[in-house]
């Protein structure tokens, strides 16, 4: 399940990629973008990113020391933003390719651009403004080692040719496995800004990518383990199963609680609890073997969200959801009014003009910090509604049978 902070971080990237110069165009080069993102991770959300997205403490690093923060952020960036994303077996490209296409299409200098599978002998050199982009792309293609193509990518290349970036008459192959950062580092030097639905669609794409790229790191971080130490050896499914076991055993469980949890939700792949204790992951979670496990969930609540949907919500869907929350009475009416205003399109300036908001918060920063709490409350509320609906559906099935 995605890290709740993956969404605001991804939205922040989309925002930086839409900040206009005086002439209304967007200019940001990859390194400047990297430096901005590094600052955001180091200091943003009142230290929330470095603690809960990066998970600094799981790595034994000290959040009060800037050098430790930088170290942790660099490791997260390497493992998440630069993680090569393989093409899914049902698709002919990854969303990182969609990102590259979306970025290139925003150049006012290039003209029509698209990614399309074509025979490799259809490659054609670029002339004009896209030359620099193609030179960078050639470096990526050269650097990518064969295994990085991935099984699906290799098959697609054999059958349909490489995924060509086509701008005008020019065409050059793109790597089959792109990382989020590889796609971002091919950003055109000038881009047109996005508005309205187009801007939202870009935010959704960014969020899907960051949530996907962070999935493995996050699954390890949630166990309280150091992601850099485990990321090569612990699969997402194994991490999830271990998390289910430890959650079932409760906070600071003893041997009996673990044995009871094992009877309900054993970790697949182990014959019994002793075999689990004897494994690397079992030792890490329950060291010393047979002693009290040190597991303690880092987050107050399990993260409930499924990955972000492909489809965007309509305003009516948002307002219907708010009415449902209102009827349940768990979310503060003030926050529900805030959500309704946001669904109607109110921005920060418009909200800050409202006397009830100004009366409640000392400044805009305090108000924005509060919106983070509202976002967390939404996650909890949706989780509870889904759990209640699942229970009631189970009841209906029992009645019928």
């Amino acid at each position: 399940m995605p890290n709740p902070l993956a969404m605001p971080f991804a939205q922040h990237i989309a925002h930086l990629l839409n900040k206009r110069d005086d002439d209304g165009l967007v200019r940001i080069n990859p390194w400047r973008l990297f430096l901005r993102l590094e600052q955001t991770l180091l200091r943003g959300r009142g230290g929330g990113y470095v603690l809960k997205l990066v998970g600094l403490r799981t790595m034994g690093l000290n959040p009060d020391r800037m050098s430790d923060r930088e170290d942790g952020v660099a490791r997260w960036f390497d493992a998440v933003m630069e993680r090569p994303l393989e093409i899914h077996s049902s698709r002919d490209r990854h969303k990182a390719h969609d990102l590259l296409e979306a970025l290139v299409r925003r150049s006012p200098e290039f003209g029509p651009a698209r990614l399309e599978r074509r025979p490799s002998d259809s490659a054609a050199a670029a002339q004009g403004p896209a030359q620099g982009l193609y030179a960078r792309l050639a470096q990526f293609e050269k650097r990518a080692p064969d295994p990085a193509v991935g099984r699906r990518g290799a098959a697609l290349r054999r059958e349909q040719g490489p995924l060509m970036l086509i701008i005008g008459d020019a065409a050059a192959p793109t790597p089959e496995t792109l990382s989020v950062w590889s796609a971002l580092s091919l950003i055109p030097s000038v881009m047109r800004p996005l508005e309205g639905d187009e801007a939202l669609a870009f935010s959704y794409l960014m969020i899907q990518l960051i949530e996907t790229a962070d999935e493995r790191w996050n699954s390890i971080r949630r166990l309280g383990l150091s992601p850099p130490e485990w990321i090569e050896d612990l699969s997402i499914n194994r991490a999830r199963d271990v998390g289910i076991l430890m959650s079932a055993a409760g906070p600071r469980p003893d041997q009996d609680a673990l044995a009871a949890a094992w009877r309900r939700v054993p970790v697949p792949g182990f014959d019994d609890l002793d075999a689990f204790f004897a494994s690397d992951i079992g030792r890490a979670m329950c060291a010393p073997v047979g002693g009290g496990p040190r597991f303690e969930p880092l987050d107050e609540a399990p993260e409930p969200r499924a990955p972000i949907a492909d489809k965007q919500a309509t305003k009516e869907e948002m307002l219907d959801a708010i009415e449902l929350f209102r009827a349940r009475g768990r979310i503060d009416p003030f926050d529900l009014d805030l959500l309704a205003a946001v669904a109607e399109g109110a921005n920060l300036t418009a909200l800050w003009r409202r006397p009830n908001i100004r009366a409640r918060f000392d400044n805009k920063a305090a108000f924005v910090a509060h919106t983070d709490k509202v976002s967390q409350a939404l996650i909890r509320e949706v989780r509870e509604i889904e759990a209640e609906r699942a229970l009631s559906a189970e009841g209906e099935v029992r009645e019928v049978t």
């Binding site: 922040h12 620099g132 030179a135 935010s203 969020i207 449902l324 921005n347 509604i385 559906a393 209906e396």
Partner: protein, 153 residues
């Protein structure tokens, strides 16, 4: 009685709505970060340029032993071929340059961007980079390069 499709539609609609609302809330934070004095400090990147170094001798391009950019900050670049590749030694020249470059993050980028090396100057304004010595790298450097460094906040 609700059908599985109804349930799944209702769940999807609720998640979609929740995601959309959360994105809109996250955007409020971005708006705030655009306001003066609210953003995380934007890094200032300064570029030190070195024009074409090439001494073309037929088809072979050679790197000079040393180049100095006397600008602000002043910096000396030395190239040496070694068994492993090309060693590039960078050294800030003078106290003002040392103050600006010492400990700073930087990148060494060739004109055609085929060499792109991220590094950090040590506290004495020095850095040593090891590049592969193939013809393309040497040729690319000979066409010029630049050093981008992040100014101290």
């Amino acid at each position: 009685m609700s059908t599985p499709t109804d349930d799944s539609d209702a769940r999807d609609a609720l998640r979609r709505a929740s995601d959309a609302l959360r994105i809109r809330l996250a955007r409020l934070g971005d708006e705030l970060s655009d306001e003066p004095g609210e953003a995380e400090p934007a890094p200032i990147v300064t570029r030190i340029k070195f024009a074409s170094l090439a001494a073309d001798i037929g088809q072979v391009r050679e790197l000079p032993e040393k180049r100095v950019n006397p600008g602000d900050p002043a910096i000396e670049v030395r190239f040496a071929k070694s068994f492993d590749g090309v060693t590039v030694d960078l050294q800030a020249l003078g106290l003002p340059a040392l103050r600006r470059l010492g400990g700073r993050k930087a990148r060494f980028i060739s004109a055609d961007m085929s060499v792109d090396y991220a590094f950090r100057f040590d506290p004495r304004g020095r850095a040593r980079l090891l590049l592969s010595a193939n013809t393309a790298v040497v040729g690319s450097l000979a066409d010029g390069f630049h050093i981008d460094f992040v100014e101290a906040p």
